[in-house]
Symmetry: C2
Subunit: 435 residues, 2 copies
């Protein structure tokens, strides 16, 4: 399939052949209909090539080339936008990396695969004003085993802007979660109105860079964006029920938790094989205004009967450092059944002697029941990372610390409350089901 | 050497041989002098074995066994402590993993190496009340390429407590940075007085778990610690000039930055090959009350003459996405020379096509000059992580986001101001040199 696609790709170039594929002196000379074009010629030639694309009837263009409003050439960028609008071209860019769609393998990202990994197919779509930041996140996702639907690096947004992309992704069936890295917003009112509608159906996680006065200056010379004040943005995002990420880590941490069923409430059941992690988890739970679930009498009875006497049957449930996978199975089954538990925080320390890889299977099976969200915390080196990647690949979000997990859970819970207002549905339903 | 050590190790056991090594029916029966013992027998036998250790004249004991004050058996623990004190035994534990010293390969941590990696030799020493949390951090350090001097998991601290360990590490020549994970503090006044003296010479990074009311309860049932209020601890740590970490990530992030020369001031010079990362870095710099360095005229002139016209010569210095290693060399040399720059934040996005591994060499050479601290930010997947590990192995701290780097830099700068008060030294001196 990939091969067929490449054979349909045409190069407009002064050479007769590139990488064994026929090349043409101009896009006009390419025979047949063309759906979309990627333009990467030097800035001085962009207008001419875009004009030709218009004449050829091409409706989608990714314009990679930089050197427009981000270096002060505002008029040149307006000229490009005018050409695109004249021909009705949906133009992404300039000054961008374009589009990556893992499912169809459409990929205009011009960075090598060994440096920038391509993620598996999944439900997160990500738009990024900055190509560099976008690339990092995509690469991180690829490594962590997180799935993506679409990635769009849209750069200076001369024609298609963040609001257009948001709207597109809202209607895109393969997108469950929308993530955005923004430096500025072209039309604030339109953006917020659009976002407010979208967040009734899909979560939108946003990282706004250029929040500070100095950062705003830096943004202006990067993508030519006029950034607004931090407070104004924060308030606006909140009003539109977007999920505001303060750092790159949070953008990532928040987005991936939404691949779980929505929680029915804020009561977290914690299971761990390391007491210290339980203490840290409870600290973070309190920081994030979540609730520590009180296990039912039945759960306590069951756990006391099934676990060794020295296990600490309370919440956090400490299975003790010699816990094997079977103890986790007992704990997970009990918490899935207990109506006092809305969300399960599963701390697995893979360093301990008795734990083995089969605990991953147990966690994935429990998660596949789609009864309650299960969120994992695993901290460590190579052996731990290997298991985290497997958990992520099967849709269990993993975190390196209780605090980052609890922060994500609190956003997840808050969104689920908001979501319930607009969607007549029982809780514990995956977002996917709603479409 | 390792072999020799193992041949000197003796097992007290009812078998005649364990793993091909001679075993003895009791520690008394072992011929010759014994420096230290590791006790891992069931709780009921601990007192007897410890008594024997005392009679044998053993002065150092690691007591792994759990089941004492953390499960309410306070009297049993007091009895153990009394035996140790009677014989003048420095006892670590109970309920702990004991001691790991990478340089001498002394290692009582009973978890498998493939699960819990052992770090390279370095200047960070780490004491942890929780074995699990301690193990995670050690494992993380091993993977990230961070060096350690000593790791002590001290559990319930029946005899040797956090203050004793702090004092020991303060006098330990191979320890440059002290890191502590605490759930409670035995003698608050003594601890703080000790810490206040130590921080004049060595940085002490501390993570206090059980900060919240619920967390304190969890801590009580974990290591039997009575945790105090979050505010009280925070204020006390600040008074003692300790570096307060709020999360596991920060404990790690803060500790590793101190392997650099101390900065002469708060002015950060930022270099990047991705504009978006520059914007995020400046946002975080403002959050952390650091200063954006103003390059000298000479630096600006030099950079303009040496870099392509489209590079963004300002701070953050954007070398643009097509930057190769040579451009980084120009930038680093200029910033090392510029007296307006105190700290260099080196953002390297390894995803870009033109960058190659040689940039790592350039960064390490620049750092080896020991003129200014160099802190790296690299965000990404496998290819990026590989390069980060090399940077860390050669003492350049690396971070996954500008925000985590800036947070660490602000602690580093604040400590350097404090340090200068007590040490009659020029800045830009490594901590090591002061001992």
């Amino acid at each position: 399939m990939a091969k067929t696609k490449i054979q349909q790709t045409a190069f407009a170039s002064s050479s007769a052949e590139i990488l064994g594929l026929k090349a043409y002196p101009s896009v006009i000379a390419v025979p047949g209909k063309i759906d979309s074009a990627v333009i990467a010629v030097p800035e001085a030639f962009v207008a001419g090539v875009l004009e030709e694309c218009g004449k050829k009837g091409i409706k989608g263009v990714v314009l990679i080339t930089g050197g427009f409003s981000e270096v002060g050439k505002v008029e040149e960028e307006k000229k490009i936008a005018a050409i695109a609008n004249k021909y009705g071209i949906a133009l992404i860019g300039p000054n961008c990396m374009g589009v990556l769609t893992p499912a169809s393998r459409v990929d205009s990202v011009f960075l090598p695969i060994y440096k920038l990994g391509r993620p598996r197919v999944g439900g997160i779509s990500f738009i990024s004003q900055s190509g560099a930041v976008g690339g990092c996140i995509v690469d991180l996702a690829a490594r962590a085993g997180i799935g993506m639907s679409k990635f769009v690096s849209y750069g200076n947004a001369a024609v298609i802007d963040e609001t257009d992309l948001l709207q597109y992704l809202a209607n895109d069936e393969s997108t469950d979660i929308i993530v955005a890295y923004l430096e500025g917003v072209r039309d604030g009112k339109k953006f917020l109105e659009t976002a407010r509608e979208i967040t009734k159906k899909k979560p939108v996680v946003v990282l706004k860079a250029g929040r500070s006065a100095l950062g705003a200056e830096a943004a202006l010379s990067h993508t030519g964006s006029l950034a607004g004040s931090a407070e104004a943005y924060k308030a606006a995002f909140r009003q539109a029920n977007m999920i505001d990420a303060a750092t790159l880590e949070q953008l990532f941490d928040f987005a991936k938790i939404f691949d779980q069923v929505l929680p029915c409430g804020p009561r977290v059941g914690i299971v761990t094989n390391g007491g210290g992690m339980g203490v840290l988890a409870v600290d973070s739970l309190e920081d994030e205004s979540l609730q520590l679930a009180k296990f039912s009498d039945e759960t306590n009875k069951l756990l006391r009967a099934s676990l060794p006497a020295y296990a600490n049957v309370r919440n956090p449930l400490d299975l003790i450092g010699d816990a094997d996978s079977h103890r986790y199975e007992i704990a997970l089954n009990a918490m899935l059944k207990d109506e006092h538990v809305d969300i399960i925080l599963l701390v697995i320390l893979f360093q301990t002697a008795a734990i083995d890889s089969s605990v991953v299977n147990i966690a994935i099976r429990a998660s596949d029941l789609r009864k309650k969200p299960i969120v994992a915390v695993c901290t460590g080196g190579e052996y731990t990372e290997m298991h985290k990647r497997i958990l992520e690949s099967y849709g269990i979000p993993t975190y390196s610390s209780p605090s980052s997990a609890m922060r994500a859970i609190s956003r997840f819970h808050a969104y689920s409350v908001h979501y319930a207002k607009y969607n007549n549905t029982a809780c514990a339903v995956p977002l996917k089901k709603q479409k």
